[in-house]
């Protein structure tokens, strides 16, 4: 029983290790960190919604090899990202650059929020205006006073009339 469990665990562990692909060597931990960050930012061009860090596709493997190679050559992040966009275009980036073509993408949600807040503000103001008491003229006050006193009189009449 224990042997079977161990066998299953070993199979799972080796399976996971082989899915991760080649194990790369680096000169410094900082290089490894940069490598991990960069491959998480690059799109696997032949996959649906995977970075080259996640994909087992051949091309993703080649791109990881290349990123590793460039890091060992001492190239910085910008140079490596540039290397990839020179060949594959901005499509290779998960974080597209801010330029006129991507303004809608970057600022669209903010724009929608501004519009939504403006619409809400107008709606609230209208609602308040409708619910609040309108300003009364002197005539209105006079009429209201008369109506109230009449009401009192009526009231008196009713109570009087109600008496046996």
């Amino acid at each position: 029983m224990r042997g079977a469990v161990l066998a299953i665990v070993l199979i799972l562990v080796t399976g996971a290790a082989s899915a991760a692909g080649t194990v790369y060597e680096f000169d410094t931990p900082a290089q490894r960190e940069r490598y991990t960050e960069i491959i998480g930012q690059l799109r696997c061009l032949v996959c649906q919604g995977q970075s080259i860090a996640e994909s087992n596709a051949d091309l993703a493997q080649d791109m990881r090899d290349k990123v590793h190679e460039l890091i060992l050559e001492g190239r910085d992040r910008g140079a490596i990202i540039g290397y990839m966009t020179d060949r594959y275009g901005d499509f290779v980036l998960y974080r597209p650059p801010v330029d006129p073509r991507t303004w809608l993408l970057w600022f669209g949600p903010l724009g929608l929020l501004v519009i939504a807040v403006a619409v809400l503000a107008v709606a609230v103001r209208r609602h308040r205006a409708a619910a609040g008491s309108p300003a009364l003229s002197a005539g209105d006050h006079e009429r209201a006073r008369r109506l109230l006193s009449e009401g009192l009189d009526d009231d008196d009449d009713d109570t009087q009339g109600g008496r046996p």
Partner: protein, 178 residues
């Protein structure tokens, strides 16, 4: 009734935008950054003449196609007829044999025919990466100065041959003569 018109209009507009975007091929709206630029170097051993190298200088001087293919690529078999047709019409075509083995690539050529003027053997896919290749087949159209002027991704069909490739070849030739 009128108060529902605005939300309805917004919904219809949004649905239309999403429907169009859903059917757009993002590979086509994100063209290769290499289009309009000088073609990257090809320099590598030739498939059928391993001791010789094919470089960009060898293919400069006339309008030409560079076709990326491999023996393991099923779509390459489908487009082979049109690559051959283009060659027969006098368009120089250079092959970039991508991540293949010499033996299998040669076998493929003897089976289907060899329409290429020359073929570069790119065993590791290094040249492919410099050319921004991410799927096979891909075809690049180069002008007489060795600049990439157009890129076709995927297999060439009769339609794309007649409507995309040949008219552009014609135009670039006129441009070169002018």
């Amino acid at each position: 009734m009128k108060r529902y018109l605005l939300p309805l209009a917004i919904f219809v507009a949004l649905a239309a935008v999403l429907a169009v975007a859903l059917h757009l091929n993002d590979r086509e709206i994100v063209p290769s950054p290499l289009v309009g630029k000088a073609a990257p170097e090809l320099g590598a051993s030739r498939l059928l003449a391993p001791d010789e190298r094919l470089t960009l200088a060898d293919i400069r001087g006339e309008v030409a196609l560079v076709n990326v293919w491999a023996s393991w690529c099923v779509a390459c078999r489908e487009e082979h007829a049109y690559i051959s047709a283009l060659a027969e019409q006098g368009v120089p075509i250079y092959g970039l044999n991508y991540k293949d083995t010499r033996a299998e690539a040669r076998q493929w050529l003897s089976e289907f025919g060899n329409p290429y003027d020359a073929i570069v053997f790119d065993k590791e896919g290094d040249i492919g990466m410099d050319w921004g290749v991410y799927g096979v087949p891909e075809t690049f159209l180069l002008d007489a100065d060795g600049r990439i002027r157009y890129k076709h991704i995927g297999a060439i069909t009769r339609e794309s041959m007649e409507e995309e490739i040949l008219p552009r070849v014609q135009r670039l030739r006129e441009e070169a003569d002018a």
